[in-house]
Symmetry: C2
Subunit: 220 residues, 2 copies
């Protein structure tokens, strides 16, 4: 989390910093992005940066958290609209989130987020910041909300732990699809959002009904 000083900053200065950070993290991956570039762009001295943020990680996840919070609200709405039906919700949520990520103003930022996100950081998306380990302020909203509102009656999956596993499976379908999109784009091929959604739908279908041909359907 940014330090209190950051939030006390005059609006224009704060915005300039955020803009510069988005630009830098859009230009390069987290690893390759440099604080030096951010402060040069924003026109603030080096020492000031450290007055506002702990380090590069801090400002990066601050940007990511801004998205997450918004996306959490979308998630809750969609989950509610589908009465806790996991697969109906997922299809719907993915559709909406895809548009936002792939076509929104920060798409280049997300390209780097998804291309270079590792297991360790992936937790951030469905979970909470690692740094604030003691007395975590905000919990794993996506997962917690799912545990509370998922309709388990039509699923084999009953225990909270199993739901958590399934939830991660579903989220993986989403993440790896987004990753697939950006990965292809990087190689020059452009995947349409339609094709991407179809891809996600197919994987969700497999997860819902299985890839095995049901007994009575087998034809030799």
């Amino acid at each position: 989390m940014p330090k209190p000083t950051f939030f006390r900053l005059a609006e224009p200065k704060r915005k300039r910093l955020i803009k510069a950070a988005y630009d830098e993290f859009s230009r390069a991956s987290f690893q390759d992005a440099s604080i030096s570039n951010i402060i040069k762009d924003a026109g603030i001295p080096r020492g000031s940066f450290y007055q506002y943020f702990e380090d590069k990680s801090d400002i990066f996840f601050y940007l990511l958290d801004r998205t997450r919070t918004q996306t959490e609200d979308l998630y809750k709405q969609v989950m509610q609209a589908h009465d806790g039906d996991l697969f109906g919700m997922a299809a719907d949520f993915f559709d909406k989130a895809v548009e936002k990520l792939l076509k929104g103003p920060h798409r280049e930022f997300y390209a780097n987020v998804f291309l270079y996100m590792d297991f360790h950081n992936a937790a951030h998306f469905s979970s909470m910041p690692k740094k604030t380990a003691p007395a975590q302020p905000h919990k794993k909203v996506f997962l917690d909300y799912t545990l509370d509102h998922l309709d388990r009656s039509k699923l084999k999956v009953k225990s909270d732990e199993d739901v958590a596993m399934l939830f991660r499976q579903v989220m993986w379908v989403f993440m790896q699809s987004i990753g697939y999109y950006y990965s292809r784009r990087k190689n020059g091929e452009n995947v349409t959002t339609t094709a991407l959604k179809a891809r996600m739908a197919k994987m969700l279908d497999w997860l819902q009904y299985g890839v095995a041909i049901a007994e009575e359907e087998v034809h030799d």
Copy 2:
């Protein structure tokens, strides 16, 4: 790939370098590992390192590729033993691979590999190095072998593209489980390999038969 000079090196020197690299990449993540430490450990001058390797990436993936090659053989054997049955093979392969990764001599190295592997690099495991883009020498062995030897008769999945997608889903179950193991371990909790295998089996079962309760099984 290491430069030819590296392979012409006297055995002891080469081994010393490899050992030093394993040690450094076991100590720290790819990002945090430093060439300086490797050469200090191996006792070779800086200039020499660059005579052997392109950069940090180059030596890291060289280590990873040594594993991959061995694992490829295991994969082929297991696939053959199961007559192309995806899920039978997967359960078996995972069992064996888990032992190797989690209990083998390079387990700390793999901890960092799995904890900090991103989408962009994940391809390396089931695919080939990015750097040698023109005229790729070795193809996506895991995937190619699967496409050729998978028994599709009991699966809904028929086209090569769909098989590739399914393959990635199955591999994800494996990868995220390994990631889960190391992630927990990092937090002090130790997951037994038995529990880990059960976890993987459950996820594979979902993928095979679906998480939805079949029509005739529904009880209100």
